[in-house]
């Protein structure tokens, strides 16, 4: 990174010497304003489709925007009513706890599996790249595919129960049991996310020079000692990035849970995102949904701030 930064400043765009006679005004335009035509479209897009909706969502969270007021068009401001209502709902707190559990468990297992895979694929062997590409499929395929796959696997008469049957374990309607439903979505999410952890850690592992390992081996360090004292410390920046990105991706999850459980049974497997969606599009209370969305934004931004503080230390 630092080198690239240096390279960039070294070749920064100094006004080039003009060889050919170009009209002066035209030349000035080229140098001065042309760059802004490059960013004009994205500026317009950002203002209209990112910044304005964010702002609109924020104002919506202070408005009474339900079916009636939405159709009639005047959505009166109602102060913090949406927030009060949200914070006094049990489902919200359940969804918050679920989001934390879902994120923590997903990341823990995704990272562990990804790291062990990265260690394994550090070896050179035939067909390695084919296997790596295949292992990416769960991550790169649409979430819907994974969601239906695991909805089927955890079906009351599905493979998980069929296999449990071999061991004499009675069949359970996993997705219809409070607690188990959330656990099933976590298993599915681990399956979706492990390739992402794997590939980033793998690219980190590949950058470690062989000589370091050789030296440690000659000094008599065992395999796992080498992993603990060489691989892990060198991978620290990659690890921080992977965990941070993984957390953000996991807090964003919606489709998976919405398809597998729809937040059920009895609202026990909601994440904040699915809960906000339900309040907005099933209960048609856009004001309150916007308030929940604002809470999510605040959570994510504070998480981000926390990471920045960690990195500064």
């Amino acid at each position: 990174m630092k080198q690239l930064e240096a390279a960039r400043t070294r070749v920064s765009p100094v006004p080039p010497a003009e060889h050919r006679p170009v009209p002066r005004r035209k030349a000035a335009w080229r140098r001065g304003l042309a760059p802004y035509t490059f960013i004009l479209p994205i500026l317009v897009f950002t203002l209209l489709l990112l910044a304005y909706p964010m702002f609109y969502s924020l104002t919506l969270s202070f408005q009474d925007a339900t079916v009636d007021t939405f159709v009639s068009g005047d959505m009166p401001f109602n102060g913090f009513a949406n927030y009060q209502q949200t914070l006094s709902t049990g489902t919200f707190w359940q969804a918050l706890v679920n989001t934390i559990v879902f994120t923590f468990c997903s990341i823990l297992f995704q990272f562990t599996i990804g790291f062990l895979l990265a260690l394994f694929f550090q070896n050179r062997f035939p067909l390695k790249n084919v296997l790596i590409a295949l292992l990416l499929i769960p991550w790169i395929a649409p979430v819907l595919t994974a969601a239906y796959t695991f909805k089927g696997l955890f079906n009351e008469v599905g493979p998980v129960n069929q296999v449990a049957h071999w061991f004499g374990i009675p069949s359970l309607p996993w997705l219809a049991l409070p607690g188990f439903a959330l656990a099933a979505t976590i298993v599915a999410n681990i399956w979706i996310g492990f390739p992402f952890n794997f590939i980033l850690l793998y690219s980190g592992v590949c950058g470690i020079p062989q000589e370091i390992y050789e030296a440690a081996r000659i000094d008599g360090a065992s395999y796992w000692r080498r992993v603990g004292y060489i691989t892990l410390p060198i991978l620290k920046p990659v690890t921080v990035a992977v965990l941070m990105l993984g957390t953000i991706y996991t807090v964003k999850v919606f489709d998976l849970v919405w398809i597998m459980t729809g937040g059920g049974p009895a609202n026990t497997s909601h994440l904040l995102s699915t809960y906000a969606y339900q309040v907005g599009f099933s209960l048609l209370n856009f004001g309150q949904a916007a308030a929940i969305a604002t809470v999510i934004v605040v959570l994510i931004l504070s998480l981000n701030l926390f990471q920045l503080l960690l990195q500064r230390k």
């Binding site: 070749v11 765009p13 994205i42 295949l134 819907l144 599009f281």
Partner: protein, 274 residues
Amino acid sequence: MRPPAFRSPWLYTVVGIIITVVLLSPLYWVLMGSFMTQRELFSPHFSFWPREFMFQNWTTAVGRLWPHFATSAIVSVCTSTATLLITAPAAYAIVWLKVRGRGAILSFMLTSQMLPAIVFVIPLFVLFSRMDIVNTLPGLILGDMTFTVPFALVMLGAYLREFPYQLVEAALVDGAGQWRAFFSIVLPVTMTGIITVAIFSFLMPWGDLIFALSLITEAGLQPLTLELYKARGALGIDWSFLLAGSLLTALPAALFVVAASRFIVSGFTRGALH
């Protein structure tokens, strides 16, 4: 690292294949299940192999999903194209042309990238209803772009940092304008990055459910994911159709993995780590 235990590299291949098979076993079940009757699929006994291959499941799925496949393709191609059109020049200008406010744009995009879709879906639904572009494909494309554009800008920025700017300087000396230099030098040199970002900007809207679910209600305009989501009808889930359909939805992703795994691997490691 030196192999700690095995002498022959092929032993690693064998272990690697076993690991891959175990981790991808859910997909094996979907593939085999898509050829089974629903009765066999959910019988008390697990079957590794269909008693009889029901190709009918697939012909039904393809027949029913074909129009939605086309809708998804239109939405994804348009989203990907529009995304590249606005992000490629912007990423270049932000990295190399020292435009004012580039830091602000970049950090705004990074922040947007972190926010869940729900933050945009609710206001966009309300706004698009007002503007009467709910239930139109352009509306859906604009919605999808709220997550492809920040992603593409950040990732292209990472690629362009490695672009040798001296090439452009040389062209400017020869009297070319910035835009001409962009099209004749920057684009060709960074083609790998552009292709990678194009693929991801295609796959993201392809797999999107939340925007389609909120912005499209008309049956004729439903993309693939939405049609499959709606397949869980009142009579319960038609699993034979659903499993074949889910695999069909994953087809473009699988094709890209096979055709461009090298780009994809280098692509998202780069995009994520910078």
